[in-house]
Subunit: 143 residues, 2 copies
Amino acid sequence: MPGPLNAQFAVAVHALTLLTSEGGAPQSSEQMSRSIAANPVHIRRVLGRLREAGLVTSRPGAKGGWHLTRSASAVSLGDVWRAVQGQSPVFGLHGVQPGCPVGRGVTTALTVLDQQLTDSVVAQLDDITVAALIPDFAGVEPG
Amino acid sequence: MPGPLNAQFAVAVHALTLLTSEGGAPQSSEQMSRSIAANPVHIRRVLGRLREAGLVTSRPGAKGGWHLTRSASAVSLGDVWRAVQGQSPVFGLHGVQPGCPVGRGVTTALTVLDQQLTDSVVAQLDDITVAALIPDFAGVEPG
DNA sequence: GTATTCGTACTCAGAACGACTACGATTCAA
DNA sequence: TTGAATCGTAGTCGTTCTGAGTACGAATAC
């Protein structure tokens, strides 16, 4: 129902926290879809990005599913961000390239600024681990 | 033609730079639409936000148009950001509110994080003036 | 009075996103 | 070997967002 959001990032982080429970046993996308308010296929697609980044692994078939490749305290939100967002624009501050020279100068300046702000944000995300987001880490069972 | 972007911010900044030229004489949205690759109506809507924020004024009728209320060196990009974006979410890191307690904890944590990152970005924008984006300030004529 | 310009409501097209279905491929277990 | 479970992925659909564009009334200058 909601619209404008980086929901993939939230789904990824939420899934990672779920994978820390159950003693690290693999969990299926179907299983996680009940805790995360999202479609199993969508979850698979998002986690696919995380797999490409080496944060999780997946195995098809019975008793298959997803599991972490390292502890949640060794995964930063910056890792998740890079895996999910890749190089896609964050702010998109720069609009269409105009014809007039003043406009081009402004556009290039905004492009540089966009990159600086993005770097700053990712740097802050790098200082936060997934484990830090879990209230009472390793003591709460998802419902 | 392009899609995913905060083009309003770019339009606003570009318009402000245009208003610094011509010796501060009022310019019409039609006039600016030729330099900015955007529709006059769209420009009026964006500048309307800036007017609400007190950054520009407008006057209808012949010889009307828009002009700055202060020097471009006294307008920060943070001012423009707040005028254009308001309180709308920037990252939207937090997804749908899920039912399970772990999920709620993660969601609230992401909500707090979102606010922190937004504050950080706006603080950086506050340190940059519109004038700083103009190459050779007061020496270039828009075409 | 006429031309100019803003203010704003309305519609339209395109892109993006997630939900959902479907189905093949893979893996485990009996 | 059969069947169930699960991933991988293509495809479609509906919703939402955004900007483009049209239209027209109100205000202003000459």
